[in-house]
Subunit: 172 residues, 3 copies
Amino acid sequence: MNGTSSAALEDLLAKQEIYEVVCRYARGIDRLDMDLVRSCYHPDAIDHHTGFSGGVEEFLTWAEGALRQMSGTMHTLCNHLVELHGDVAVAETYAHTTHWTREPTKPSHNAVTGTRYIDRFEKRNGEWRIAERWATRSWIRTEQDGMQITDDPSNGPVGRRDAQDPLHAALG
Amino acid sequence: MNGTSSAALEDLLAKQEIYEVVCRYARGIDRLDMDLVRSCYHPDAIDHHTGFSGGVEEFLTWAEGALRQMSGTMHTLCNHLVELHGDVAVAETYAHTTHWTREPTKPSHNAVTGTRYIDRFEKRNGEWRIAERWATRSWIRTEQDGMQITDDPSNGPVGRRDAQDPLHAALG
Amino acid sequence: MNGTSSAALEDLLAKQEIYEVVCRYARGIDRLDMDLVRSCYHPDAIDHHTGFSGGVEEFLTWAEGALRQMSGTMHTLCNHLVELHGDVAVAETYAHTTHWTREPTKPSHNAVTGTRYIDRFEKRNGEWRIAERWATRSWIRTEQDGMQITDDPSNGPVGRRDAQDPLHAALG
């Protein structure tokens, strides 16, 4: 393997690692596993969301409070484009984030947002994590009527936030 | 290439193969190419869907019957996270599955679901395929009014389930 | 690195390059950066869209005109499957394209489409770009009521089409 191939493989590996961090963030949020969310950030990371801006520990507290007001969420991640600059990277990830709640107390608890996660990643001690995130929102669409929660397991596998989600069975 | 790089490349290749299987599944379902769907599973695979649980051949019969009741489907795949354990892997793939029908006989024939494919993959004879799938649904949103089917080719390329889909022209 | 590994790495790199081109197209369209869009095509490329078919320069003019009639767009890219044949490749990319406009003059300016980009890529002078694209549409869903544009920066990061989009700050 020559130097060019070796560098190209390193870049591919970095991009794959960064993609997986972004996916683990969504998994942690959607399964209500805040330790998994925490593991996506450096300890001194900053997060900017609609309605929040601050350090990662404060973000986790704020996010968990908001998540517990809803029945469930699905943070769907799409276009993912990374620019690498040594041990720093900028990643843009398109997201449609769906929120549902059986008895919503505000419209955003039954809604989809159009969001782009714009992240500055840093590699420290061999590990890529988010150093600063701008969760950049363009629109929100409320779902007053058409959306039904499917959480009855008698008819097929259904998503959960606890150990009974099919993911845990498959991973276990 | 040292051993570390070689193992890292092997893992990347496995993840890419698994991703392509999941995408071929969606292509097969959406183009009504049941042989392509079949090729994504091992012959003794088990599939759990809303309304179905059983072996792959029974699944194919059931799925084709359901698909033929609709005008078209679009199985949009997003977050894709794989854990490799030798010749076994667990893949989670987020999906928004859209169904449309000109004269629907039930609400789910004009609807979008929020689904996560949770798959146990196995590599046998050098090939990664699904051994067991849990199509895990969280919600369904019916589209009574706003959705229009665009299948008139006079104004631009339109999706089809037969050999006239633009994909086949491009691949051919 | 043996020949098999080397060829496999080359294929992975080609697929990554092609994926990034498709993502840069969406970024260019959504940020109204028509030079970035242009860079995704070979100069003699052909594009087929709903309502347009022709060369890339004419496409850019047509697309920019349509985009400027709307407040914003989000071209969300999902399933991405590439078949490589030497210096030619066929890529299929699923897309949900969202359009929003504060005072829309036609329904499609506040709508989501279900589209598949079917692209013939060619590698010329070491660079993969689109040679011919079929933007293949299956449905359009108008969003009369539920969709709200979130462009007030006082509550958190919001998407923009100019240099103030958070992406540019992060990249800069």
